[in-house]
Amino acid sequence: MTGMDSLFLIFAVITLISAFLVVTTKNLFHAALWLIMTLFGVAAIYVLLNAFYLAVIQVIVYIGAIAILMIFAIMLTQRVMNPSGRIFNKNWIIAALLGAFMFIGLVIISMQTGASKTTLPQISGQLDTVSELGQALVSPNAYVIPFEVASVLLLAALIGAIFVSRKR
């Protein structure tokens, strides 16, 4: 086992354990904190995969903004700090079985076929991925339309959020 493998193992375990705690913790607030831990673990795995900018996005957007939004949303709801009621309903066994089935199935298929058969486009693997991303985002031969549509989507979300939360 190389150093990279052991690092991956450490972060994978951190991610999985905290993800498990997210869904089993009774206190929603604590669940949100565990979610931050999960997101952090995923960011670390991105780093191990050489996807540095993605790791930065993960930290800035997910940990920095979305987790905060979730915590706000939790604090907006009543009866959070003294939770009552069960967190699982009758269907949890079915859900767990489905999840396990999905997981085992994917593992088996991955082991049979390996990763994708087509060759993925090569990227330089250095920190320079950022500039390649920048180029792809505004190139008419790549992702310029999704890029602009993303801003329209953000605008619609903004208008919607203001409309919903504003008093009349």
């Binding site: 990279m4 690092l7 780093v47 191990l48 050489n50 540095f52 900018y53 996005i57 800035i60 957007v61 920095g64 903004a65 979305i66 905060i68 939004l69 706000f72 949303a73 604090m75 907006l76 709801t77 009543q78 959070v80 700090m81 003294n82 920190l127 950022v130 500039s131 991303l133 920048g134 180029q135 985002l137 505004v138 008419p140 310029v144 890029f147 602009e148 993303a150 801003s151 329209v152 953000l154 605008l155 979300a157 903004l158 208008i159 959020a161 203001i162 939360s165 504003r166």
Partner: protein
Amino acid sequence: MAIEFLPIAILFVLAIALAVFIVFLGSIFGPKRYINTKMMPYESGMTPIGPGTRRMNVRFYLIAVLFILFDIEVIFFLPWAVVFRSLGLFALIEMLVFIGILLVGYVYAWKKGALEWE
């Protein structure tokens, strides 16, 4: 390479270790007196007003949503800014369109009073 992230990893480990160490020291050497005033939630030194678990105002949510949206905008800016010199006019126009669209949202938020507290 991922090895360039080693300093960050060291920083994390040190930070966690230091925090654990300080709490540990406190629990060993600190005097343990449980008086009423001491068990109160801390609110900048004054006597707390109301319970600490009350509902927050919905405005915080709106601020957080606005923050996310502009945060994502920044995420798109950075890769573009890195290569913008070599891409020329078209890339500039593309980014201006992108900013323009979100600026519309900003004007909307402003005019509808979403940025005001009361």
